[in-house]
Subunit: 336 residues, 2 copies
């Protein structure tokens, strides 16, 4: 049996209240006694039981993470960040994988509420009313990453997708491309799919180019979907000479589709990726990419959540972080 606060108290000849006080520094304790208690704690290797503590404090020091797929660089890097920051604040991460299924997400939120998590990081593809009602009804602090919501209670950290997509598109424009496709995740408001489209359109119209609806496609976040869509697109000439994809994963699907259709990247078509996860510099050609501070976004999300849990002031608006643009080898000047 592990040593408890009682054992420590007995060995140090003090009451358990005193031991509790020296552990938590919750009230003054005379130096000599504190000293003695500390010694006993070290000798016995006593560790306070967090479960008992949770019970009386009504806090679990647990943060729930709901993600659509762990085996993804994007999610993995965010999870790395969250775990790191959580540890700093002595929180632990309870991990749930929804496979992007909304019903499952709802169940998971319920489960987490009953597990008494103190806050939830919700990485849902399409967060909706049901999520927010559940969260609000249970007064559960929550953060979204790169998702929009009208719900003023939910925190969120995002980049400016419109501006980012504009920059990505402009890069291709500057390289002399005019026939440019956009592969976004989807067309909804929540995922910024619409903002991405606006950025793309703006970049084109600044150059006096009208956008062609046939070049705006949806890839559902993943390489496989983007591969299908682009393979389809490349069946008809003239093919676009530039493609912007709004996730790294989709960018790889795009590149593979281009290659498998017998074209070269960047020789025949230049592609711009979007997150700068580890794969962006691992893949060949290395991906030219709009770089999001993915790790930082995870870290910020967690800090926001903890602030909310602590009742500290939190921003009413989404926290907008900056982005960079990194040119690598998947894009080049258009060949005539």
């Amino acid at each position: 049996m592990a040593v408890t606060i009682k054992d420590v108290a007995k060995l140090a000849n003090v009451s358990i209240s005193t031991v509790s006080r020296v552990i938590n520094g919750s009230k003054p304790v005379s130096p000599e006694i504190a000293q003695r208690v500390v010694e006993v704690i070290n000798e016995t290797g006593y560790i306070p039981n967090p479960v008992a503590r949770s019970l009386v404090m009504k806090k679990s020091r647990l943060i729930g993470a709901i993600v659509p797929d762990i085996a993804t660089f994007y999610v993995g890097e965010i999870l790395n960040a969250m775990e790191e920051i959580a540890k700093t604040y002595d929180y632990d991460i309870l991990l749930f994988n929804s496979y992007g299924d909304v019903d499952r997400e709802i169940e998971m939120i319920e489960k987490m509420v009953s597990k008494q998590v103190e806050g939830i990081v919700l990485m849902s593809h399409f967060p909706d009313e049901r999520h927010f009602k559940l969260l609000n009804d249970n007064h559960m602090p929550s953060v979204l990453i790169n998702r929009k919501t009208d719900n003023t209670d939910a925190l969120s950290v995002v980049i400016d997708h419109k501006a980012a997509t504009k920059v990505a598109t402009e890069h291709l424009l500057e390289l002399g491309h005019e026939h440019i496709a956009l592969i976004r995740c989807d067309s909804s408001e929540e995922t910024f799919g619409n903002d991405q489209f606006m950025g793309y359109k703006d970049a084109l119209s600044d150059k006096g180019i009208a956008y062609n609806p046939e070049l705006v496609l949806e890839g559902n976040f993943k390489a496989e979907e983007a591969y299908q869509v682009v393979t389809q697109l490349l069946q008809n000439e003239p093919i676009p000479t530039g493609i912007v994809a709004t996730t790294d994963d989709m960018a790889i699907g795009v590149i593979n589709a281009v290659i498998d259709c017998g074209y070269k990247v960047p020789g025949d078509v230049s592609v711009v990726a979007f997150q700068n996860t580890r794969i962006a510099s691992l893949f060949r050609p290395k991906l030219t990419t709009l770089a999001q501070p993915v790790y930082d976004m995870g870290a910020i999300a967690l800090r926001l959540l903890i602030k909310k849990i602590q009742g500290t002031d939190t921003p009413d608006e989404p926290v907008v972080v900056g982005f960079d643009f990194i040119q690598r080898n998947s894009s080049q000047r258009r060949e005539e």
Copy 2:
């Protein structure tokens, strides 16, 4: 305030023990009373407090996962599997990231013990005495994945690395390569680095080829390290025309190194990867790879762990799962 067992008892006009009994089915309760209690539970939306339950039962329905890096396909896929199976048994996953640091792993095990997790999946690069002593002293069920240990208490699920590496090497041999390098993670027993070497050596000697120590290198699991090592190796002619890497990540580092040194894959050098994670078919050239049932290994690990937790019979020996070999495009017949 959330509704408690007391509230339910009062509303149903029974004692809290009775409520507890109907919740857990731990003892018979007369149908009418049970009925009434269930009604009250539904009306009030009562959910038993798992923290209180943990405290008295000394069980948390939590399983700890210690991994070296979440943002990796290998770890991500195993985590996906673990989460999936855990849910089936109504366990949740507490996620810890050690960054491969042994001291951190030790701290994490301690933390998990104090958090009362019921079992631990330990994905340590180098599990040693300290880990096992801690685990044993606390009677903590645990599983390793692809790691060896003398500790008979720890469960493990592995593939036959010697046989697997032999198959990978033979593939290259059959393709006419003779000058073949092996990039293994490291040379220790625990990681099967030595078994891998034996398989490699056996394959060569079966063909009457003596192995060259200069062609057996260590890549520390990751692409970056493998990249360095191989870049170094390619400085001197003749370069190997075939390379076996014992993780997919390292295989990518190898391929990139080969390419950056001005050679072609598979034109100049054929490479064989090792796990068949998602990247293996996403990368170009698609990786010829020794395929481990990564997802299944995660699933099996979790099932073993739960069996151990339940006190059911578990195997004394590591569970050895099979492997496949998948030829894709990173290897080809040697050109003269």
